[in-house]
Amino acid sequence: MNAPLLEVQDLVKRFPVRHGLTRRLAGYVTAVDGVSLRVEPGETLGVVGESGCGKSTVARLITRLIEPTSGTIRVAGRELHKLDEAAIRTVRRDLQMIFQDPFSSLNPRKTVRQILTAPFRYQGLAPDEPVEHLLERVGLRPEHAARYPHEFSGGQAQRIGIARALALRPKLVVCDEPVSALDVSVQAQILNLLKDLQDEYRLAYVFIAHDLGAVRQISTRIVVMYLGTVVEAADRDALFAHAAHPYTHALLSAVPLPDPDAERARERIVLRGDLPSPLNPPTGCPFRTRCPKAAEICTAERPALRLIAPGQEVACHFPEPLTVEGTP
């Protein structure tokens, strides 16, 4: 296998927290705490976790919208943090992003044509295909080019966002909850479009979502995040078949099943309490405050991510045995 398309190692992002009139430094919020990821060309890495677990921060770090506190990000072998502005601009041709809110990610004052030619203008390139082709590729009509973003539905607007991300023919697209703001029926259409485009252009995705259903549809591998750390990483089927981390179990038990009988019989693990404040994270294992299995060692020692089966890593002192429950 060649070098991975994206390799993230020990990524840390701390945000300073300031208080009062003098903007006194009150401490740091560790939004991302030692995350490592790998994405191979053409595959989709799903990143799941509840709000505030740092998954959107990871997206913004990878696309270099924000600077990491420490850690390395390599895109196709190039280390992002070592590059200057001009070199990063070139890397951006390979690395694009799709945003959560399709409307706020499109400039309301620009026509679709202006939005879709902007990538070339900002890169100093001549457009290599007409805007109409880009529109057709994402399932819109050529005459949409003259319209403004507000004239579209949410799903159509997201298609424009996708067309913009694809204009430069990137190799990796970071999708930050691309379907969360859409109706359920539209979500499926957008997911299918993303899959079709992936097959056509051999795209790799980092697909961020809080909804396991969407992630299951599109991912080859899935990473589960909790409070800024990766608690479990596994191939899609392995994760759904035999999740090892108690938090992953809780997430899986929240996915509704299509069969009503199975749905009624489904065992639900309801987590007690809220996500701990990232300003003051628990000692040891970050999940111990809500974990049904928490023991003394969990307070004392933070579990490292370790391989428990081929392609499955978990950060837990008491991982689930590999044979039980989960949806087959």
Binding site: L95, M97, N107, R121, G161
Partner: protein, 314 residues
């Protein structure tokens, strides 16, 4: 500044501008008050532009004395009823000198509008540039511009203007008024632009442009600036009447436009001693001032309502 500009632009304005540009004008004209205000403003602008044509048609000039129209036996009071209104002098004549009031009023409109528009232009340029820099870059730029705006807003600008104009007797008064009004007025624009730019700079479409590789310059000029046109348009229409009133106030106090150049404020000031004997002389420039300030204010309110979906009245 005699009238503080206390307009606030709701944050909704920026988002809605792009949405219905064409229908915005249509919706504006649907409100009778806005349509009337726009008509009055249009007439005012036409009158100001065509002032020389109007005086040519009436055969007068704003500075020409008509001693035959005043009665020296009555201390220079205009001959005839209602301040000397006649076929030759449609709005009467000035007591004492006999200058044609219509000519002076239309030339006064020129001066008032020109000063207000240029001062607005200056404050828009300064306010947009500095407010945009402060809101977009934050940090030091924001701290410096923010303090400067606080300083200017708390400065006793009227006293300063009086002092400055008295201290510089030789300079072109019109130009000085434009510079001083524009300079003390930009923080009102700057505050609004700053807060809007701050919101926009954090917006996702700016992030999207950054991911595409846009330079800072492109982000500022191509992504953020076009979204500021709505709020800026609103402040502009609101600041014109405020400058018209301020200019009139300064001219009334004798430190604005210098005679013989006519100005409404100056005419009102010279009408004060005559108010009992010749009230028409007082009423005409007063009405002009009142109607134009009112029309611009109504128009500004209407534009803000049209651009902000949340403040729509029925």
């Amino acid at each position: 500044m005699t009238t503080a500009l206390t307009t606030s632009v709701p944050s909704g304005a920026t988002r809605s501008v792009g949405r219905q540009e064409v229908s915005a004008l249509r919706r504006l004209l649907k409100q009778p008050s806005a349509a009337a205000a726009l008509t009055v403003v249009a007439i005012l602008v036409l009158i100001a532009l065509m002032a020389p044509l109007i005086t040519l048609a009436t055969g007068t000039s704003p500075t020409q004395f008509h001693s035959e129209a005043v009665d020296p036996a009555l201390g220079g009071l205009p001959r005839g009823a209602a301040g000397g209104i006649s076929a030759k002098h449609l709005l009467g004549v000035e007591p004492g000198s006999g200058r044609d009031i219509l000519a002076r009023v239309v030339y006064g409109a020129r001066v008032s509008l020109l000063i207000a528009v240029l001062a607005t232009g200056l404050s828009l340029v300064l306010g947009t540039t500095l407010g945009l820099a402060a809101g977009f870059f934050g940090g030091w730029a924001d701290a410096v511009v923010g303090r400067l705006m606080d300083l200017l807003l708390s400065f006793p600008s009227l006293i300063f203007m009086i002092a400055l104009i008295s201290a510089a007797p030789g300079v072109n008064r019109e130009l000085l008024l434009v510079v001083v009004l524009g300079f003390f007025g930009w923080p009102y624009v700057g505050r609004i632009v700053r807060s809007q730019a701050m919101v926009l700079a954090r917006g996702e479409f700016v992030a999207a442009a950054r991911v595409l590789g846009a330079s800072r310059r492109a982000l500022l000029l191509r992504e953020v600036l076009p979204n500021l046109s709505g709020p800026v348009l609103v402040v502009a229409t609101m600041s014109i009447p405020s400058y018209i009133a301020t200019e009139a106030g300064l001219s009334f106090l004798g430190i604005g436009v210098r005679p013989p150049t006519p100005s409404w404020g100056q005419m009102i000031a010279s009408a004060v001693p005559w108010y009992a004997a010749d009230p028409v002389y007082f009423l005409i420039p007063g009405a002009c001032l009142f109607v134009s300030v009112l029309a611009f204010n109504v128009l500004g309110d209407a534009i803000r309502d049209v651009l902000d979906p949340r403040s729509q009245r029925r």
